[in-house]
Point group: C2
Chain length 342, copies 2
DNA sequence: CTGTTAGCGCATTCAG
DNA sequence: CTGAATGCGCTAACAG
């Protein structure tokens, strides 16, 4: 044996080289055995396998992905792991447990700075090699087309990307607002979502349309910024409630904002839903856990995740055409809405 | 120039080579600029930076991780993305948003086969290269020690790994059972968790101890398998309710099992909590959303995720010693428990 | 059937 | 201050 004698068993991982040395074969042979390719004697095969087991060797995803085109890993790219993305992830994971794919979720909105959004950054960092395809959650920028197969969930520009999954935001928002109108509310406020998201614009539009259809004026003073996030929502809600004649109902652009709104209202001694009705959007698990439980528009998040994966896998495996999938958004009436007090 | 002339601008990603060519410098120079190292003229620096921005270049995680020791990515290894892991992930993500680390969550329980568990496989595949450290959620096997820094959450063997975060399962289970006893229940069943998990054993032990302390017999017929998963839990619950004299209360080893138990009970026309009291464990968001809302033992999941990350980052950055962190588990009484009917 | 060779995209010496 | 060579762990040709 003339292999480098100075090489000790290194610190961390077991590499293919370690296996090769222990089995007395070349790394190429080990590679063949591991990948079940032809051209290896049965005896050799078994010997290598035993060493692999003994050493607990597992090929490095990183190294493999550099040489191979397929890694059998699907990437889910999110800005951060908030409830919305989490529920999506749940569906993705479920759908993938029937397939040969593993899931890798990446939250890349941390080390910011570049003028590119997190979506492009994450795609650049993972794409092409590490993952066979990507599910991108609420991307805000147009995504590069030259990359891996991907489907966007609730994307910024609506169906601009080739493959998308979203819900009927316009209709859902109309239903929510009409529900409040039907209850007898006349001063209905809206806590906006992130202005750069198509979904947020559609929800606001649905709110406006419902009001107008009912012959109600859209009062600009009753539209505040919520940004889809608790911190901004708290400010927006406070501003609304500080109005000389505050609204009797608030339709928030998502559940997190709605829940925050409820906190703000409770903090001011308002009783829900008697003094203020609140409606959200999304129906994350947390929505049903508030007191009173939140009336909201349900997006079938897990189902959206599953649909996205189904489509993606078909695109990867069968070269299926990218399409647009639109799911329905349905009002779920719970306890946070009631008729305004006389 | 004798470089391969046949090389075209390739399909997918922008590589460091593209940037170098566009900026008219060598890849080494680009590398230095990107990593902010000394030895580059200011003018060159700026020119390269502009090209980087123009092309939207972002270094490949894969390639980088092969050569570098640090990637500034923390891995969260889970079997699958169920509510428990999701909540943990939420805390992890939160805690990491203050740091320079990105989060990468990997669900590796899919392509099984090897006698190693998913934890070891995932660690082998990602460790050492892709991630700087790992948070492993409910590992069931003893983890190799020679790998990257890691902390285990709710591990199989209890505090066998050097760094762990868990809750006081024994105490939580006792409280849950004592609550039922205090309500007047005498036939209290237990829906077991996964037998290979320390947490499940402790919860059963807490149940037994509480019964014994109250002078009640532990009836083996009242202990069924739940496996922490809805499918098994449904069977276990059905078996319990099929007993000649069924229990008046069921303490399930986790919320998913408890929720499934409620479904099974409702499906048989039982009214909750009058005909049957149910207690869970974990307090995932879904627990408060059931009707009636589930009485359960709260594990501070997000806080556990945060603690795990805090510890891990200190281990990576400052070489801190691994420790064991135990958090308290507290009973949350909601509507799914009541005194048994006379 | 098995070993040798080349190179994936990048960071890192080490000469210019 | 810059550029050419080297190798990370692995797979795909090809040679023996």
């Amino acid at each position: 044996m003339t292999s480098t004698p100075s090489r000790l068993a290194h610190a961390g991982r077991t590499t293919i080289t370690d296996v090769a040395r222990a089995a007395g074969v070349s790394v190429a042979t080990v590679s063949k055995v591991i990948n079940g390719r032809y051209g290896v004697a049965a005896a050799t095969n078994e010997r290598v396998m035993r060493v692999v087991d003994d050493l607990g060797y597992e090929s490095s995803l990183v190294a493999t992905s550099m040489r191979r085109s397929r890694t059998h890993v699907i990437g889910v790219l999110v800005a951060e792991f908030e409830p919305f993305a989490l529920q999506l992830l749940h569906g993705v994971s479920e759908a993938l447990s029937d397939t040969a794919y593993d899931v890798l979720a990446y939250a890349g909105a941390v080390s910011s700075g570049s003028h590119h959004g997190w979506e492009s950054r994450s795609l650049s960092r993972l794409g092409g090699t590490l993952i066979d395809g990507a599910v991108v959650v609420t991307p805000t920028v147009r995504l590069p087309e030259t990359s891996v197969p991907m489907v966007a969930i609730d994307p910024h520009t609506g169906p601009a990307s080739p493959a998308t999954v979203d819900t009927d935001n316009l209709r859902g928002a109309r239903e929510a607002t009409e529900h409040l109108i039907g209850l007898g509310h006349r001063r209905i406020a809206h806590l906006r979502g992130r202005g750069d998201l198509e979904s947020a614009r559609l929800r606001e539009q649905g709110y406006r349309e419902a009001l107008q259809s009912a012959g109600l004026d859209v009062d600009p003073a009753l539209i505040a910024e919520g940004g889809y996030r608790p911190a901004e929502a708290a400010e927006g809600a406070a501003a609304l409630l500080d109005l000389p004649t505050p609204p009797t109902a608030i339709f928030a652009a998502n559940d997190l904002s709605a829940i925050e709104t409820m906190h703000v209202a409770s903090g001011r001694g308002l009783r829900l839903p008697d003094d203020l009705s609140v409606v959200g959007f999304d129906d994350v698990p947390e929505a049903a856990a508030t007191t009173p439980p939140l009336t909201t528009v349900r997006q079938p998040l897990a189902a959206m995740g599953r649909s996205a994966v189904d489509l993606l896998v078909r695109m990867i495996d069968d070269g299926a055409e990218p399409t647009h999938i639109r799911m329905s958004a349905d009002l779920i009436v719970r306890g946070s809405t009631a008729a305004p007090r006389a």
